[in-house]
Amino acid sequence: MSVGQNIPHDSSRGHVTGGSVFIDDRPLMQGEVQVLPIGVPAAAGILKSIDYTEALKAPGVLAVFTAKDLYHNSWGTIVAEQPILVADKIGYYDEPALLLVGTDMEALLRAKKFVRFEVEKAPAIFTIDEAIAQQSFIYKANAFKVGDAAAALNKAPHRLQGAFECGGQEHFYLESQACIAYPMEDGQMEIHASSQHPTETQHVVAEALGLSLHEVVCVVKRMGGGFGGKESQAAPFAAMAALVAQKMKRPARLCLSKDDDMMMTGKRHPFKNYYEVGFDDDGRILALKAHLYADGGAYADLSSSILDRAMFHVDGAYYLADAFIEGSVVRTNLYSNTAFRGFGGPQGTMTIESIIEDIALYLKKDALEIRELNCYQKDVRNVTHYGQHLGHNPLPDLFAELKKTSDYEQRRREIDAFNASSKTHVKGLSMTATKFGIAFTARFLNQGNASVNVHKDGTVQVSTGATEMGQGVNTKVQQVVAHAFGIPATSVKVMATSTEKNHNTSPTAASSGSDINCAAALKAADGIKKRLAWLFQNILAQTPMNDIAECPPLNEDLLHFDEFHFEDETITHSPSGKTLRWAEAIQQAYFNRMSLGEYAHFKTEGLGFDKKTSQGTPFKYFTNGVAVSEVQVDVLTGEYKVLRSDILMDLGRRINPGIDRGQVTGAFVQGMGWVTSEKLFHNKDGKLLSHSPTTYKIPNVQDTPRVFNIEFIENHENRENVHRSKAVGEPPFLLGISVWTALKDAANAKSKGLISTLKSPATPEDMLMELSRHE
């Protein structure tokens, strides 16, 4: 019974001993070179020329490559418009334009200063409002329409309008973008990359080098964190390394420094969402009109899908009877923003959570009251603004339960009393929710494949398209396969992901890695189980198996598969109670020349969404949760602490409770970082100045909630997914928003009616400035 057990991560032994191998830990090969990409010193304009003659003469520099060395110089997951190396038009400051190559990184760093760029600068766009004014757009979505928002707004007793703004976020995976390209015989290329999407990495490398796809293999053992940042953007760096490897016929290692990684790669999309909301005296939302603007940065990347997801999640956990939601991605001269845990979902949901705080202040009510009133219900008010029925909806129960277990009402009274008396501090309390749609909204991505190989000693190797970035997908696959065969988890190893074993795979993203790949692995395991059951059925039927005769091939019509159970390293035939040991079955199957390997393809059924009408079923199911956070703000400096956070989630039947719990704590703290201390700062030329942990502040161990309670409800009803589990990667990220709404609640406590202008992130500076509006 491996599924449901809290076993350690399959790499945990390597992690705690330093034995786990990451890209830059791979031993140097004979002749291997280092690659240092160098970015352009301008955000917009034309790169006229690069003078690298002096750099090439510097000690330790072996070669230089630029755009003209590439066979094909554009890539892009959705729109192929982004250069791998700047050829002429510049997209953003520090965009890679040149590769310095040598055997010693320090020598390359010393030589870097000799590279001269000649740039004809052009005016640049750095903000969403500037982009709107100049009509600089990457994508405009079809509006989502439900009911008649304009009419409902007109009739609404109360209206508020405004713009909600949230900033970008650096992924800050600890392992920066990293890859090594090994040139192989016959012009082939083997890439070892820190990539969430080996298939796309393979494709981008092949195109860049003028190779066919079957000449490139991409291998991913593990990543030191990904969070979406290595979904699309691992690929161009792999292409750079591969270019060097191809031209020099030497292995080429490209491991970005943290500074270069932060300056060169895209981040979470900042959004500015203009809205108008209508509501009644109780706070019931009657109409929402909104236009979501996402800052895509310089190139399309995944921005259109990210905007779509923001629009899908602008309802949060709340029913919208009449809504009109528009969306646009603007083009600016900043790094190309990309996938990041939540993928637009947080930016959509945070908008409505912010609006609800405003409604509460306006109506002089507790915001939780407004949330409960608007929360999706079980039997009515349970269809989203894009027409998807919520199905089994635990949201009302989650709100009710957490309100009770977190002592919400009592604490609210205490906080009110504290705020009335304290001269030095003000406290805030807020509960928010996550209702995260599970599936890629691009339907074709909802497929995967797996191969399961049983070896002669009964141990098993599994390969899937999933990539391991710490989230424990390999451990879940291991558990699901071990469970299927009834063998210990230690008898199953999940192997490095490689495009030569699993091809045409989707990125490990959209929280779907475990859903898709566990399901594919289970399907493959079932294929082997059927043959073993057939073997055992024939043994029981005394079918001759000897030097003359062997077990006949599987005939599914004659197989009584449900009579065979795989448990405790034994196959049991239930009707007779007869057993066959796992090891014996494997031996027998081998000598009867039966396949002990299986490949399976899996696709998520039941998805369909009409982009023209913006109605349909884009998601397989929803993962839900609620969180309540309490903060305390120093009114003299704006500095604050999170005193307590309580989380309650519905993750169905968890395949590994410990791993899922870690996803929840990690996502929450990452979400809270996004809305509090993680501020991106650029100079007037558009160069990112906060490009290392000295200047860009992710939460540290002192910032997390002083009291942190994490609980789960029991839910055995998610028949939509493997082992009735639920996806967990992204949904809890949105619960970090409760820290921001609590900060907003704290500032609102000092408001004499003035509606908040707080943006995200709310740094101590922002808090002090917001509080000073109420003086």
Binding site: S11, S12, V16, G18, G470, T637, K679, N700, V701, D703
Partner: protein, 490 residues
């Protein structure tokens, strides 16, 4: 003790194996040396000592008397910014040295059990940091509290777990199972082997690079006089960063760590003497009772790893306009000692900082220590640091106030601020305004209003001009609110 010699290589134990390192390799950052010598478990992420992924444990052999030597207890350091040459006569333990073959140590076991690692990239550093905590705590027989664990892990960033699983692991350590690292890596026989070489001085040259660690001040000032471009390196917590980022290449460096006197910290008639090699950790502990407010400030000054390497003198000589210790030192009227071939100069810190990164120091002078006068009981002080993140952050504004009180009347006031101009400043106008006044809310509200016109903060990525002004004003109010508790109202 044998005669001291000049060596051109360093001798250091790494996981119990002696390494002799000379030439180019002695100039590598420790992390890079490890990673290129089959010890890739130590990770480099930020290369600036801010994330702790490169944390390793370090001890060094010390002369405790003419005939005796002793290992210092293991402390965590950031190996990414520390040049190899600083570790002569040291013993280092990396993540690879924590377990015996298949047998994990207690920290590793609990980190696995509680899912303390996800992606695994911060994990080696976390495991090293927690192992040093276990090493220093196992004798107490008590479990590690969550607070203690947090304080110890302040310098280790994790992006996956939200820290909660790591804190669970830390608080569930069964310290009775801890096998002390010192029994394996800080043995008497290892000490004995090193003892005869302990007082050797170092002179390592490789190409155009040179590093020296003289064994006496006489030699040190002489070398500095001959080549004034030599950079003095203490913990390298700033210079190591500049080197890694290609801003300053530490091609000609000198360390004073071979001069025993530089490690001295003691109370003298005129104050606390802090030698050039005294780390911030040592200072924080030493002044806990004599200068409690300074000790409190040092708690949030930096991560344990940085404080274990960095020195007060290094902070003073780096002279950042937001240098966290400097406003406090100004309010305490500390003095820096500068030694050269021509003799010793004592310069009050209030006169030391001339302009942005311009100090009253001659090219041939070496800072040998800082003298911090101790405040009498009639003094009250408050030192504040305001930053985007409370811990492990560089401040936006720093503030220091020291008030001499005669009942409720202020007989002398000293105010200093950082982050409000090109250098840290004393505020004589406000000191004069406060002198002779009654300690009151109105006075401090007024001082806060006045300070706005006396400082010229800039807007940068840490804070805006407006915020710094507002905080400067409010810190006077905060100072009053906090000291109000300590000063009895008549």
């Amino acid at each position: 003790m044998a005669d001291s010699k000049i060596r051109n290589e360093i001798h250091v134990f790494i996981n119990g194996v002696e390494h002799r390192i000379g030439g180019e390799k002695a100039f590598l950052p420790l992390a890079q040396y490890l990673r290129t010598h089959s010890l890739p478990g130590t990770k480099v992420v930020c290369a600036e000592g801010d994330c702790g992924a490169c944390t390793v444990l370090a001890s060094k052999l010390k002369q405790t008397s003419a005939a005796a030597v002793e290992w210092t207890s293991f402390q965590t350091i950031n190996s990414c910014i520390a040049p190899m040459y600083l570790f002569d006569m040291g013993s280092l333990v990396t993540v690879e040295g924590l377990s015996e073959q298949e047998e994990l140590n207690e920290v590793q076991d609990q980190m696995r059990a509680f899912h303390g690692g996800q992606c695994g990239y911060c994990t080696p550093g976390m495991v090293c940091a927690l192992s040093s905590l276990a090493e220093s705590s196992h004798c107490s027989g008590k479990n590690i509290s969550e607070k203690k664990a947090r304080n110890h892990l302040t310098g280790n960033l994790c992006r996956c777990t939200g820290y909660e699983p790591i804190l669970q692991a830390a608080t569930h350590l069964d310290l009775s199972k801890w096998k002390p690292l010192k029994d394996k890596y800080l043995t008497a026989s290892q000490a004995q082997g090193f003892a005869v070489r302990l007082n050797d001085s170092l002179m390592i040259e490789a190409g155009s690079r040179r590093f020296s660690a003289p064994a006496s001040f006489t030699v040190a000032v002489d070398q500095k006089n001959q080549s004034p471009e030599t950079r003095l390196v203490a913990g390298a917590t700033d210079l190591g960063v500049l080197h890694n980022k290609g801003k300053v290449f530490l091609d000609n460096a000198m360390s004073l760590h071979k001069i025993a006197d530089t490690e001295k910290i003691d109370i003298r008639a005129d104050g606390v003497w802090v030698g050039a090699r005294v780390t911030l950790t040592q200072l924080e502990n030493f002044v806990a009772n004599t200068l409690p407010e300074l000790s409190r400030l040092l708690r949030i000054f930096a991560s344990p790893q940085i404080k274990n390497q960095g020195t007060l003198v290094g902070n003073v000589m780096n002279g950042s306009p937001i240098g966290d210790s400097i406003p406090a030192l100004l309010a305490l009227e500390a003095r820096v000692h500068l030694q050269s071939v021509t003799g010793l100069r004592e310069v009050p810190l209030s006169q030391f900082y001339k302009a942005y990164k311009v100090f009253d120091v001659k090219p041939n002078e070496i800072a040998t220590g800082v003298l911090i006068p101790v405040l009498g009981t009639e003094w009250k002080s408050r030192f504040f640091k305001v930053s985007l993140r409370k811990d492990l952050d560089i401040s936006a504004v720093t503030f220091a106030a020291a008030l001499k009180l005669d009942g409720t009347r202020i007989s002398e006031a000293r105010f200093a601020m950082g982050g409000v101009g090109p250098t840290v400043v004393r505020l004589p106008e406000l000191e004069k305004a406060a002198q002779g006044q009654k300690f009151s809310e109105a006075l401090f509200a007024d001082l806060g209003k006045q300070v706005r016109s006396l400082i010229k903060p800039i807007s940068d990525l840490r804070a805006s001009h407006e915020y710094r002004l507002k905080v400067a004003e409010n810190l006077f109010k905060k100072c009053h609110l906090e000291l109000e508790q300590e000063i009895p109202c008549p």
